[in-house]
């Protein structure tokens, strides 16, 4: 029940909730983009700082478990949200709409995600998922005068609602079968009813619901449309935080109920399909945001390889992979936000022709990101992929490992296509705007750049950190 330690354990989440409310009040007092922006960033930093105050592993009401994994992921989510906050400012300052509400939604969505990673109960999971989703509806359709944003919003809303319903029905069936809503309780019960029709049917439906959020094949079709329709910062959020948090819950769920052989087969099928189809879809894609969307489908497939591999190694691999993936995606969408000119995003690859000859630093960052996504050494993505492969080989998932290799080569093709485009000499004079808000964004890019390289060359620290986190989760 309630005792004093609960509050410090949930410090970040509490700070975020309060910040959201305060933010709303700030807007009510006076609309000022810069103030709200700064406030959001500060509160995110504050939440991040409060992570240090968390006393240790503890459960809260059976709804949450604040363990190493949760804390680490909360931190990751907060940092990512911080970057998205930075990228939002130049993006929305050009917009004619009210921009301030976006930050409330950003805070709320971050709240939802940070709650999800510590959820240990279907009710808390469901609610955090809905906080995230509902905020995202608003964030995706935020530039409401744009037909594409609205369209993306409608598509996401409809699909998310249907998948939520499917997920709920699944949870319901599992509840009927076990009489439990807490993960640990279900885990206990699942031991007795491993092959129960209701339970497996429910689990299958839950899987479908989670698969939708993770954009795994065959629930992936919304991704490109939403990514390309939504404002770039939102796309970054959808690509990173929303997936990462759901993935953590997926891990917790299957850790408690055990990885049934049939479930593993389903995951193998899904992973193979995601890796291959995601990369195939991106192969000839000319729209950078869609390309990133397809790439994210494939990346989630790689993550599922780590998931199937399971164990500490799998979790290590998955977390590291997530970190690398987050950095890359953030950088990519950050660049798109940064290069947005009076509300018009540069979407087509050909818009980026010759970026190198105009803005070499940006081009090098973007190519590094592409190489990281492709898993080439010197970048964080390489260590991530290496780690996943290690986990896959360790658990002797040869099929997955082989498909991973083949599909990552297919993937390499389009990443390189982007890179080559950046470096090709333009036929005509190209102009890339210098955003007036370059300082903070530039710093953010610099940090991402350094992180990409640093994690690619000397990942030792982070790996050790992650390994400790994993032990904390078990202990």
């Amino acid at each position: 029940m309630w005792h004093q330690q609960v509050i410090p354990a949930l410090f970040p989440q509490i700070i975020l909730s309060v910040a959201a409310v305060v933010c709303m009040l700030l807007i009510a007092v006076k609309r000022n983009h810069a103030v709200v922006h700064l406030f959001t960033l500060l509160s995110l930093l504050l939440a991040l700082g409060s992570l240090g105050r968390i006393p240790g592993v503890m459960g809260v009401d059976g709804l949450f478990v604040v363990d190493g994994l949760g804390v680490f992921m909360t931190g990751l989510i907060l940092i990512t949200a911080f970057f998205i906050g930075i990228f939002s400012y130049p993006y929305f300052s050009q917009s004619v709409l009210e921009r301030e509400e976006y930050y409330i939604l950003l805070l709320l969505a971050t709240l939802g995600a940070s709650l999800m990673v510590i959820s240990n109960h279907f009710i808390s999971f469901f609610l955090s998922l809905e906080i995230l989703s509902v905020s995202l509806y608003g964030m995706i359709a935020y530039t409401k005068t744009s037909t594409v944003a609205t369209e993306a919003g409608v598509k996401y809303l409809m699909l998310a609602a249907v998948s939520s319903a499917i997920l709920l029905f699944g949870i319901g069936l599992m509840y009927v079968a076990t009489g439990q809503l807490g993960l640990s309780g279900i885990g206990r019960q699942a031991v007795y009813t491993p092959t129960s029709g209701w339970f497996t049917a429910g689990l299958g439906l839950v899987l479908a619901g989670l698969g939708f959020k993770l954009a795994l094949v065959p629930f992936h079709l919304w991704t490109p449309d939403v990514y390309s329709g939504a404002p770039a910062p939102t796309s970054a959020f959808v690509a990173t935080i929303s997936k990462g948090s759901v993935f953590v819950f997926l891990w917790r769920l299957f850790d408690s109920i055990g990885r049934d052989e049939r479930m593993v087969i389903i995951f193998v099928v899904i992973a193979v399909a995601s890796m291959l189809i995601g990369n195939w879809l991106a192969l000839k894609q000319q729209n950078l945001k869609r390309l990133l969307a397809y790439s994210s489908i494939a990346h989630l497939g790689y993550l599922i390889v780590a998931f199937v591999a399971a164990g500490d190694r799998g979790l290590d691999a998955a977390i590291f992979y997530l970190v690398a993936y987050f950095i890359s995606m953030l950088g990519a969408f950050g660049l798109i936000s940064y290069l947005t000119e009076s509300g018009k995003e540069k979407l087509l690859l050909q818009d980026y022709t010759g970026l190198f000859w105009q803005r070499p630093a940006l081009a090098i960052l973007l190519s590094l990101i592409m190489l990281s996504l492709a898993g080439i050494p010197l970048t964080a993505g390489f260590i991530g992929k290496f780690y996943v492969l290690l986990a896959g080989v360790y658990s002797a998932q040869w099929l997955l490992v082989m498909v991973l290799i083949l599909s990552s080569v297919i993937g390499l093709f389009y990443y390189l296509r982007v890179v080559v485009q950046l470096f090709s000499r333009p036929d005509h004079a190209v102009y890339f705007p210098r955003s007036p808000y370059a300082i903070s964004t530039g710093m953010a890019f610099l940090v991402l750049f350094i992180l990409l390289i640093w994690l690619g060359i000397a990942p030792g620290n982070l790996i050790t950190q992650i390994q400790q986190v994993v032990h904390l989760a078990r202990g």
Partner: protein
């Protein structure tokens, strides 16, 4: 001080000449180039003479001298060295090489004057002499192979010396590649030797081989076959003889030096050098003899039909080397080497004479467009006649008689000889007479058809070599007289220490005089017939050409028995065709196909992203269906 220690100077002088010319040639005046080119060879010749005299006076105790310069490489005891080996055989060879080279260089200083490639020419020629000397002096087969390929390279470079004409380039390439085919067999032979003996030292191999292999052993057979491959290629014997006639595209001194006197006899040297292996494989020895006979016949007939002065000589060269092979095949090692030496003299002479004629005729090669040069170019005529006589083996007075007669006798009389081999050689000799004197009569007799523009006889540098070689072509044979006449055989005696004497059948010595008589008659008949057909009654040759046989055979012989066409159809065309159709590498299409496949798949999946929300929903339902099916049915 031991004179032998200066052996390394023999290759070193030409090499130094080459390096000087290659590095500085473009900056030096023509005179300096000529000096460097000629003097370097002259010095080498002097050193050779010096060493040779020393060798004769005080032969080394072991019968040979070995000079190790440095170890090439040493892999677990397999250690070929850069080392020189001098024994009577190599001494004869370097003697011939350096002296003939010297005269040809001398000749060239005048012949090549004014050519823009003057420095290049002498550089290549010096490099050639270096390589040839290395080949001959090599103590192991790997170094020999270095010289072997080096001479091939120089041959290539000099055939294609006038590089602007693509035909020359083609001839050069052909020469290099065809000989390379033989060389490849050679090098495979080396692999076999390495495997068997773990060494390539010639003397080691020769001393070990009889212990390892019995007579007729398969190993010996294969090694000698493979080495023969190399020899056949370099010496333009059947079946790799086709390159030599085309090699006449090079400057005439080149033809004289490389394609008559020295390089083409490298094969003879190789077999003579490795004679122990051939002795161990009688089959191969017979093969050598048969190749020799067939080559000398085929080339002889071809020479009979040629119109190009140099091509006649080229076929004649092939044919004469055929004699050497015949000699090697019947175990008459010294006879082969003897004929090599004599042949070097007279064939170099003939080529140089031809060069003078061609120079006078302003690059006209067709003998039927010449004529009546006897009076205008007396020195050339008389020396050419001396050479021709030697080639035709006019009895007693020419050197060629002694060497060729020895071979013919041995072909019949040696233990490995037979009537057939002799008969082939004899017919060949007759043909030799016919084409030689056809050439002489057509070129120098009859009426003059062209004015001499630039009289080569005024060039002393050209005439001296002609005269020296002319003298040698006459008197050179006297160092080895037929047994039937007198037991004066210093040449074979000299070579005895490294080449065994010919094994004769019992009681054959009495045949020798009869055979010589037969030869003499044959030569006279031949000369008479040529005189009849080309001077007295030229219509006779024409009529003969018009008979059914003539019409069929003349083009056949003219084209060298159609070997070029045969190889073209069998080898060259298929390879070229294959290259052309697969220029873009069919393997690449496979990978491109993979790429296209992926793009096709991309198109298929891309269709699913059609933007319709209801379709997306349907796919979600489909996904649920798939998950359920997996749960139920897997």
């Amino acid at each position: 001080m031991d004179v032998m220690h200066f052996l390394w100077l023999v290759p070193a002088f030409p090499l130094a000449g080459f390096l000087l010319l290659a590095l500085l040639g473009l900056r030096l005046p023509a005179r300096a180039i000529a000096w460097i080119g000629t003097v370097s060879i002259g010095l080498a010749a002097l050193v050779t003479l010096w060493i040779g005299l020393d060798f004769l006076q005080q032969p080394p105790a072991a019968g040979h001298y070995r000079q190790v310069l440095w170890t090439w490489f040493n892999i677990n005891g397999f250690a070929p060295a850069i080392a020189l080996y001098l024994d009577p055989l190599s001494l004869v060879y370097i003697f011939v090489i350096t002296f003939v080279s010297f005269f040809i260089h001398l000749y060239s200083t005048a012949f090549m004057r004014g050519d823009e490639g003057y420095p290049r020419f002498f550089a290549y020629m010096n490099l050639f002499v270096f390589s040839m000397v290395t080949l001959v002096l090599a103590d192991n087969l790997l170094l020999l192979y270095l010289g072997w390929e080096g001479v091939g390279l120089c041959s290539f470079l000099l055939i294609g010396f006038w590089y602007r004409d693509e035909a020359n380039g083609y001839a050069a390439r052909k020469a290099f590649i065809v000989t390379r085919i033989g060389d490849t067999a050679f090098i495979i032979g080396l692999f076999l030797l390495v495997k068997q003996f773990h060494t390539l030292d010639i003397q080691d191999i020769l001393s070990q081989a009889p212990q390892v292999w019995a007579i007729g052993a398969a190993g010996a057979f294969w090694v000698s076959l493979l080495l023969l491959g190399g020899a056949v290629g370099k010496s333009a014997q059947l079946p790799l003889q086709t390159w030599l006639p085309d090699a006449m595209a090079g400057p005439t001194p080149v033809s004289a030096l490389i394609h008559a006197a020295t390089m083409v006899t490298a094969g003879v040297y190789l077999i003579a050098r490795m004679h122990v292996l051939y002795s161990l494989s009688p089959t191969m020895q017979l093969v050598v003899a048969i190749i020799g006979v067939l080559t000398l016949l085929i080339a002889g007939f071809s020479a009979l039909a040629q119109r190009d002065l140099k091509r006649i000589l080229a076929y004649s060269t092939i044919s004469q080397i055929g004699y050497m092979f015949l000699a090697l095949g019947v175990g008459a090692w010294t006879a082969a080497v003897f004929h090599f030496m004599i042949h070097a003299f007279f064939k170099a002479l003939l080529f140089l004479g031809a060069g003078a004629v061609i120079m006078a005729m302003e690059e006209e090669h067709d003998i039927f467009k010449m004529g009546g040069l006897r009076k205008k170019m007396p020195i050339t005529f008389w020396t050419f006649l001396a050479g021709s006589a030697a080639l035709a083996a006019v009895p007693i007075i020419t050197a060629g008689f002694y060497s060729k007669d020895l071979i013919l006798f041995d072909a019949l009389a040696s233990t490995q000889g037979s009537t057939w081999l002799w008969l082939g050689g004899f017919i060949g000799a007759f043909i030799t007479v016919l084409y030689t004197f056809r050439m002489v009569f057509v070129t120098f007799y009859g009426e003059q058809k062209k004015v001499i523009a630039h009289d080569p006889e005024r060039e002393t540098a050209m005439m001296i070599p002609l005269m020296v070689l002319g003298v040698l072509s006459i008197i050179g044979g006297w160092i080895e007289l037929p047994h039937a006449w007198a037991h004066f055989t210093p040449f074979s005696h000299f070579l005895e220490s490294c080449l065994p004497a010919t094994q004769l059948k019992a009681g054959v010595e009495s045949w020798e005089l009869w055979l010589q008589l037969l030869t003499a008659i044959m030569v006279i008949v031949g000369i008479y017939w040529s005189w009849l057909a080309y001077v007295k009654r030229p219509a006779l040759a024409y009529q003969l050409k018009q008979t059914a046989w003539g019409r069929a055979l003349y083009p056949f012989f003219y084209k060298g028995w159609m070997f070029d066409q045969l190889y073209d159809t069998l080898l060259v065309k298929p390879v070229v065709w294959l290259s052309r159709i697969d220029r873009h590498d069919f393997i690449d299409y496979i990978y491109e196909g993979f790429g296209q496949l992926n793009i096709g798949i991309n198109k298929v999946f891309s269709r699913t992203q059609n933007g319709y929300l209801r379709w997306y929903l349907l796919c979600v339902v489909g996904g649920v269906l798939i998950i359920f099916s997996l749960i139920l049915f897997v």
